[in-house]
């Protein structure tokens, strides 16, 4: 069987015609397999949804009870038969509950990695390489310029800045699912034990992470009515980046805007966004991790999705690994 007969791109997303299911569809479908809870991968309105328990919980938190017609939870490693196609979920190391989806039939195995990373992250299970014929990889940071530094060094910059500018509120932009909790956990691991204030948009997800056994320390809402700027002097505040352009940010004392993202690697890009303290912390693979993962898995073919597809395809060509871009649309990279 040709791999395309088992899985191929359609306008709604990757589709398995034999099992009649989509993976991370961008529009409502009959049956959806979801890799992780970021809103560009996990959308509401599918009839049947299969995902890890945590991904389903996160979808419920974000979209409410009626986020899908029916749901089915998959444990890591459990084999599930869908119309004669065997599927299983394996940790992707991206955010809490994130999974790679393995799709198998007649000895042909395709791995849809979803978004993944290889660096350590205490807030989720680490990526497990699965041998396969076709490896579908993301390429969010698929350019040789991306080398994510050790995240603790980045947090050290934040702690230095808190000492240099003790009067300023340090506002850290971090996406609500995954990045925010990881940043808070990292700050704790670097020895900071003061209260950390969070924007309201983060509250329920942080609460969920804590419920899943991830200790975030003393976190408090940054949304107290009538709070004066003085209350946040020298405080660490975490919120979604969009909130910082909002009137919401005016309550803080001379706010210093930090942003935790892999995009912060490129200085002038960071500067355009008005960021004063870029923190290069990513939940995606950097370039060396993408290359080493492909090397480690050793697939006979690589398909490249969202991101800078052309550079990774070029690299595969140079290494004589058959590769092609999938040109999927609709993945906006909420997570980084």
């Amino acid at each position: 069987m040709k791999p395309e007969a088992l899985l191929h791109p359609t306008p709604a997303g990757l589709f398995c015609p034999i099992g009649r299911f989509h993976v991370d569809p961008v529009r409502p479908v009959e049956r959806a397999l979801i890799t992780h809870g970021h809103s560009d991968h996990a959308r509401a309105g599918h009839a049947k949804v299969l995902g890890t328990r945590q991904t389903l919980d996160i979808m419920r938190i974000r979209y409410g009870e009626g986020f899908a017609g029916s749901e089915q939870a998959a444990a890591f490693g459990e084999e599930i038969d869908i119309e004669g196609v065997r599927v299983s979920f394996h940790p992707a190391g991206h955010v809490l509950g994130s999974a790679q989806i393995v799709i198998e039939k007649d000895g042909l195995r395709i791995v849809v990695s979803g978004d993944y990373k290889r660096g350590t992250d205490p807030t989720c299970d680490p990526f497990v390489p699965v041998a396969c014929d076709v490896f579908i990889t993301e390429a969010t940071f698929g350019l040789p310029v991306f080398h994510h530094p050790n995240p603790k060094e980045e947090i050290a910059k934040l702690l230095t800045s808190l000492k240099q500018f003790p009067e300023r509120s340090h506002l850290i932009g971090a996406y609500a699912l995954g990045k925010a909790q990881r940043v808070i956990r990292l700050i704790r691991d670097c020895g900071y034990s003061e209260p950390i204030f969070i924007h309201g948009a983060l509250a329920r997800l942080c609460e969920y992470y804590v419920g899943q056994g991830i200790n975030l320390g003393d976190i408090r809402p940054a949304t107290i009515e009538k709070s004066s700027p003085a209350a946040f002097r020298g405080a660490v505040v975490v919120g979604p980046p969009s909130a910082f352009q909002d009137r919401w940010a005016r309550r803080f004392n001379e706010p210093l805007i930090a942003f935790a993202s892999g995009w912060m690697m490129v200085r002038q890009r960071a500067k355009q966004g008005g960021v004063e303290l870029p923190l290069v912390i990513s939940d995606h693979c950097d370039w060396p991790e993408l290359l080493s993962t492909i090397g480690e898995i050793g697939p006979s073919e690589v398909w490249v999705t969202h991101g800078r597809e052309e550079a990774l395809v070029r690299w595969c060509e140079l290494k004589n690994i058959p590769a092609r871009p999938l040109h999927l649309v609709g993945y906006e990279d909420e997570g980084d």
Partner: protein
């Protein structure tokens, strides 16, 4: 290198002046000699580092990297130094911890001791031994373009903040000292006496004027001020002491070698501030010539006899800082001017004259003189407080410059190019044209290029227009729609206009910038080339 690289990283992103001062003062306090001194020199534009050509850097990176992948990376980042710092395959970097990376002082000394043939391998080795952000700092230093929004003045202010010493005192010493400034730091930290300058024939920071802005003059009494013509040459400083005679540009570059005619004629001792011009002095009774004539003499290391004959240079004196070795900067403008008049009276008449005062009784009168000056090489008036001492830097209050209004034309956007650095994702360099009669009928001919003057919000509008209306691409350049009934009209302001053989239109503007977006106009309303040539004729007195 690590401390300097970290400082640069923070400065790039810190918009506020106070924030920058804190970062700079912390760096100067915490970094040991001689590294901090070289860091200071780099920030103040006083670091002399063997330069590395971008082409060589490109070759080095391509030794290890696929050219297609490099190109993808460069297109994305938009800045060569940053791209190389990011893509450099530094397999050695993991084995070198922060404490054992090359230090800034070490890098500077090593680079400057290299022979020509050694540069390539030394740069490769340094790039291997530095981490990503230090590589960036090194490449910025080696290619000679820091561009991080820190002026020499700000760096000195940080020294003042760190030590409590007055910034003008630091300024006064500055040009007598050289990197890595160890005696300066020793004095700032109270470990040594104030450094003594060996000779006054060094460059002394010049006093600068602020432009007159709306409402400035109403608050001032015209009786307290004197006015002079503002001549369209370049500001220079002559230093002569103990047989050493030097000519410096406004920023302190030594341009002695290019102006032997002036330097040989110096028969006084002291430091004099003035305008470098070509043509004749008042006293030789021949006209002062234009800036484009002066340009023939600029940016040259040496000068031919023919140049000296065809473009004789002279200095129109504005001020005196030292008389002999006596510092008279603290005296009043009028007192200094009396001394100056005396010096110039006894100096060779064909090479030196005294800038004249422009008598006026009220601001309206001065305004009318300003807009209609008696000589085409005058670009406005200078207003100086009679009692003011000579203070280095651009203080608000004692000196003002009041220029003739800039020229304005309406032109049509023809081509756009993506910017660099911060603007790497924007089309921000615009070539514009005006209507001209050509053998093929009325056509838009390019007359200049501008890449500033607009706000960030206006840049969004311009960028969107370019993306939506591209009709052709030439590498990084896009041609945009420009027809009589459809296109983008830009109001372009510029400081002056010269004849040019290099441009097809025959004219070249000085400091063109986008003054306003004229979305209210159609390209057919834009100006014609004849408008520009008329400005040229007025200026050279031919019209």
């Amino acid at each position: 290198m690590k401390a300097f690289a970290t400082l640069l990283d923070r400065l790039v992103f810190t918009p506020s002046r106070n924030g920058k001062l804190t970062l700079l003062a912390d760096y100067f306090r915490d970094t040991p000699d001689p590294d901090r001194g070289y860091g200071l020199a780099a920030l103040a534009g006083a670091l002399d580092l063997k330069s590395v050509k971008p082409a060589m850097l490109r070759e080095l990176v391509l030794e290890r990297m696929d050219p297609v992948l490099f190109q993808y990376s460069y297109d994305y980042v938009g800045d060569l130094a940053e791209t190389i710092s990011l893509v450099w395959d530094g397999t050695a970097k993991d084995t070198i911890d922060d404490d054992h990376q090359p230090r800034l002082g070490e890098v500077v000394v090593r680079m400057n001791s290299l022979g020509r043939t050694e540069v390539r391998s030394a740069v490769r080795d340094l790039l291997d031994r530095l981490d990503t952000s230090s590589r960036f700092a090194f490449l910025k230093l080696a290619t000679g373009s820091l561009r991080i929004g820190v002026s020499a003045r700000l760096a000195k202010q940080a020294l003042s903040d760190m030590s409590g010493k007055d910034v003008t005192e630091i300024e006064t010493l500055w040009h007598g000292l050289a990197p890595p400034y160890e005696p300066l730091f020793a004095w700032l930290e109270g470990r040594a006496e104030k450094p003594v300058l060996a000779t006054p024939a060094i460059f002394h920071s010049v006093m600068l004027a602020n432009p007159v802005e709306a409402g400035d003059l109403e608050k001032l009494d015209p009786l307290d001020y004197a006015a002079e013509w503002k001549w369209d040459g370049i500001r220079v400083q002559m230093s002569s002491y103990g047989g050493t005679k030097k000519l410096y540009s406004r920023s302190g570059d030594d341009i002695t070698g290019a102006f032997p005619d002036i330097v040989e004629a110096i028969n006084f001792e002291g430091v004099i501030d003035g305008e470098l011009l070509v043509g004749g002095t008042f006293r030789s009774n021949s006209p002062t010539r234009t800036f484009s004539d002066l340009q023939q003499r600029l940016n040259r290391k040496t000068v031919t006899g023919r140049m000296l004959d065809e473009y004789p240079a002279f200095v129109r004196a504005y001020d005196v800082l030292f008389e002999g070795d006596m510092d008279i900067r603290a005296r009043s403008f009028f007192e200094r001017r009396d001394r100056l008049a005396d010096v110039i009276e006894h100096a060779p008449h064909d090479r030196f004259d005294l800038s004249q005062l422009v008598p006026f009784t009220n601001w309206e009168e001065l305004d009318s003189l300003r807009v209609a000056p008696p000589d085409p090489v005058i670009e406005g008036v200078m207003i100086k407080k009679k009692g003011s001492p000579y203070q280095a830097g651009r203080l608000k209050g004692p000196w003002f410059k009041w220029k003739r209004d800039p020229y304005n034309i309406d032109a049509v956007m023809l081509y756009a190019q993506r910017g660099h650095g911060k603007r790497s994702s924007y089309y921000s360099d615009f070539t514009f044209g005006v209507w001209a009669e050509t053998p093929d009928g009325e056509e838009l001919v390019p007359v200049g290029k501008a890449y500033f003057g607009f706000t960030d919000a206006e840049l969004e509008v311009l960028d969107k227009f370019v993306r939506d209306n591209t009709i052709d691409r030439f590498g990084p350049v896009r041609a945009v729609r420009a027809e009589p009934g459809f296109g983008f009209v830009l109001e372009v302001a510029f400081e002056g206009i010269n004849r040019s053989t290099r441009h097809k239109s025959g004219v070249a503007m000085r400091f063109p910038r986008i003054a306003r977006l004229r979305q209210d106009k159609l390209p057919r309303d834009a100006d014609r080339l004849s408008t520009l040539t008329a400005m040229l004729d007025v200026k050279t007195g031919q019209g």
